[in-house]
Symmetry: C2
Subunit: 225 residues, 2 copies
């Protein structure tokens, strides 16, 4: 099946927006994610449905079919392998990789994918700590760790994943020592979702508004593998 890069982006967006297993993803959510208008999304959803890549209930949203999920996982694998390769071998900073990978993910061959994976020794996570789907594209188990906003005050935790895409925010976080693998002390969790924490070894502390904190997942040292 020949899919355009745009179709691949839609499937990837649906994959990433689909939280629960039968939770339907809404037109407006896709429109916002991909920065297009909702009629544009509707017409694309019709095409994806024609190709059996999604199940659709008009007016109520879509879910990926198994085939659609496989395509999405393929694109995500490309994306995350590229992010890892760019940081490991081409001197990219983790704040720069997303944009580059977001274009290249649609244009590399299976051969390229395999060589990159080999050069990285089959990595399991990308520079943000997000899991890289395996070559067989089986749906990976759910993410490791929990959102940092669910921590209690005073908890000491290990950062597992920083799934933000904004270069400015990522640079800011790195400047404050907040990267995967770092040990963190949670100082305050405000009722409106703001989290204040301090990286182990640094005196400075960071305050993270809810929409930033949402993308940070952590685990208790005990749970840390």
């Amino acid at each position: 099946m020949m899919l355009s890069d745009v179709m691949e982006d839609y499937l990837k967006a649906i994959y990433q927006l689909q939280r629960g297993d039968d939770e339907r993803v809404k037109t407006s959510a896709i429109a916002e994610e991909l920065d297009v208008t909702s009629p544009t999304v509707t017409s694309m959803l019709e095409k994806l449905e024609d190709r059996s890549l999604i199940d659709r209930e008009k007016y109520r949203g879509v879910t990926l079919t198994e085939e659609g999920e496989t395509v999405a996982l393929e694109v995500v694998r490309h994306h995350r392998l590229l992010e890892a390769y760019l940081t490991e071998h081409l001197d990219y900073d983790w704040s720069e990789v997303h944009e580059e990978a977001d274009r290249l993910e649609h244009h590399i061959s299976e051969n390229f994918e395999a060589r990159v994976a080999a050069a990285l020794d089959e990595p399991e996570v990308d520079p943000h700590g997000s899991p890289i789907p395996s070559p067989d594209l089986e749906p990976p188990n759910t993410a490791v760790g929990n959102p940092i906003s669910e921590c209690g005050e005073g908890d000491t935790v290990i950062v597992k994943e920083v799934a933000d895409h904004d270069p400015e925010i990522l640079s800011y976080l790195a400047d404050h020592g907040l990267e995967p693998g770092v040990e963190l002390e949670v100082l305050e969790v405000a009722p409106f979702g703001m989290v204040t924490a301090s990286a182990r070894g640094s005196d400075t502390q960071v305050s993270l508004p809810e929409d930033v904190a949402r993308h940070i997942r952590v685990a208790l040292p005990a749970e840390a593998e």
Copy 2:
């Protein structure tokens, strides 16, 4: 100026087909190079002319403007840097690189280009011996060496460039020791353009039909830098 990847391919094709400096490239030549029909070429040429990327005399062909040439050189630089990187760092064989580079050339950022060039230490030629345009995109001087078909029988020469794109032919040539840098003895130049030669150190000889030989450029050892 936002150019589509298809437009970039047209400009690159015109660049590579334009032998002399004011030699006009014909519709049919572009059509054949890009594997599209001539009406398709005509309509694209109109668009490129609108954007001042080519000069066009209806029914008589086109030439690149300075601006168009710069775009073409940019694409060629991307292409050849990618070919070099894929062979040097990702274990590609020179017979495989063309297809991959031909897609990726349109999708890498200037940042990616710079990192790849740095990783390769600013290379001057790609794996086929073709010159990589410099970062400032000044038109490079003409190719080194001369077509092997212009050799005399008995000449001993150094292979400078093997500008073929066909993977099968490239594998065949490599199997017979015919690669850039190799010393070659020209055994026979037949009147219909077929060249027979033997790589230094190998007993076997290769016979190259005219359309293969045309892409191979060589220099006398004296001229060799």
